[in-house]
């Protein structure tokens, strides 16, 4: 009798698992063609099994459907996001507890904005103590989206964290850069000025930074 119950339970759970894998997300139905639903569902299942958050994958498919993008390009874009999530998760993986989904998504955003996985790792390490990895990564990505070179964006965020800035201070950086840009600076100049203003100049040898011999860029 016990073996019968065990067998039924195992077969039931296996059937449920298979059904869950093959079930396309109802959010996609009617928003993207059936072929895209199937392909994206497979990508989502694979990402989910790898422990990655899947929300960005579904959103990218919805975005592609809304913009009338051809099927193969939607599927390709969803694969790219899946790769960015995997790269972010790997970059965040460290001795500390497993990365939060929010931090992985923020890392993927930063990679999409132009940061390398190594830079994501660096920012995440700097922000690990303050438990604000997601905010720091989003800030770094947003700085790059504004036009700050990735290396300078990383240096600025890390400098603000090392100077004891709070999570809110870090989140303010894009606004401060935009204010400086509004006054006529380039994004790179604004970031450099903010870093020096905080007494946290970017570390030597950082990529994207001009050699010292070139001197400071001038504001127009």
């Amino acid at each position: 009798m016990k073996s019968l119950i065990l067998g039924l339970a195992l077969s039931g759970s296996a059937a449920l698992s298979l059904a869950a894998q093959g079930t396309p997300s109802p959010r996609l139905e009617g928003r993207v063609p059936p072929d895209v639903v199937r392909a994206v569902t497979a990508i989502v299942d694979s990402a989910s099994h790898a422990g990655l958050p899947v929300e960005l994958l579904l959103r990218k498919a919805l975005e592609g459907g809304a913009k009338g993008i051809p099927n193969d390009r939607i599927i390709g874009a969803v694969r790219v996001v899946s790769g960015q999530l995997a790269a972010a998760a790997k970059a965040l993986d460290g001795p500390a507890p497993k990365a939060e989904p929010e931090a992985i998504e923020a890392g993927a955003f930063a990679i999409n904005a132009g940061l390398s996985p190594d830079q994501v790792h660096s920012v995440a390490q700097a922000a690990r103590a303050s438990n604000s990895q997601a905010g720091a990564l989003r800030t770094a990505g947003t700085l790059v989206a504004i036009g700050v070179p990735p290396g300078r964006a990383v240096a600025l965020v890390e400098g603000r964290i090392r100077a004891g800035g709070s999570a809110a201070d870090v989140l303010q950086l894009p606004q401060q850069v935009q204010s400086a840009v509004g006054r006529g600076a380039t994004p790179a100049q604004a970031a450099e000025g903010l870093g020096k203003g905080a007494g946290q100049g970017p570390p030597a040898g950082h990529p994207d930074l001009p050699p010292k011999a070139q001197g400071k860029p001038r504001r127009p």
Binding site: K60, L62, K67, V81, T142, A145
Partner: protein, 216 residues
């Protein structure tokens, strides 16, 4: 009340309170008074018990053997059945009322604190006004990660300034990417916001809502 055929209708009216027994003819009065006594006195008259009734009941309870306690020690003492007498004096009532009032006030304040945090949670969302200068177009909508990329959910309207379209959307905390849909076919990034690659050869704009509804 249903009418009983065995009673005179006048007696029924007495039972219904429409007439008094003394209003009836003398030959019906005795029967009416008897009917009234039958129906009303047992319920209306106060119940009075013998003054020794309580003493007799309690003496009987004490006389019966006590059940064995189910447990020994403190637990047994705690579970043992015993006579309990309560007497509440005015000052005790006042104290109890004050304690109850304190508890109610504390409870209301606790609820208010909870409601405040919930309100703050709702307040973490930000009402973001999206604006696009697009002269000569017929429709503008904003779509993004906050509305499942469904432009029907957030159409912009023309403002009084010619060519300026605007609309307000409540955004939860987090980072959102979005774009404007012009005339139902053309996607444009917000020229006033940072942009990132959308993966389809175009750019999406980025807006970040921090806690307390601050837009960064």
């Amino acid at each position: 009340m249903t009418e009983d055929s065995s009673l005179d209708p006048l007696i029924v009216r007495v039972l219904d309170g429409e007439l008094r027994p003394e209003d009836l003819p003398p030959e019906l009065r005795v029967e009416a008074e008897r009917a009234v006594r039958l129906l009303h006195p047992p319920v209306e008259a106060p119940v009075s018990l013998s003054p020794w009734f309580e003493q007799r009941v309690m003496a009987e309870i004490r006389r019966r053997p006590r059940p064995e306690p189910a447990a020994q020690g403190f637990l047994g003492w705690l579970l043992e059945r015993r006579e309990l007498r309560l007497s509440l004096r005015p000052r005790v009532w006042v104290g109890a009322a004050a304690m109850l009032a304190l508890l109610v006030v504390a409870g209301v304040q606790w609820q208010a604190t909870r409601a405040g945090s919930e309100v703050a949670g709702v307040g973490d969302s930000a009402y973001v006004r999206f604006t696009l200068y697009a002269p000569g177009v017929h429709s503008v909508a904003v779509a993004g990660s906050f509305n499942e990329w469904d432009p029907r959910q957030a159409p912009l309207t023309q403002t009084h300034t010619p060519g300026v379209w605007a609309g307000t959307v409540a955004l939860p905390p987090g980072q959102h990417v979005y774009a404007f849909l012009v005339d139902g076919s053309r996607w444009l990034p917000d020229p006033a916001s940072p942009t990132v690659d959308d993966g389809f050869g175009q750019r999406n704009s980025v807006v970040t809502v921090a806690a307390r509804g601050r837009v960064l």
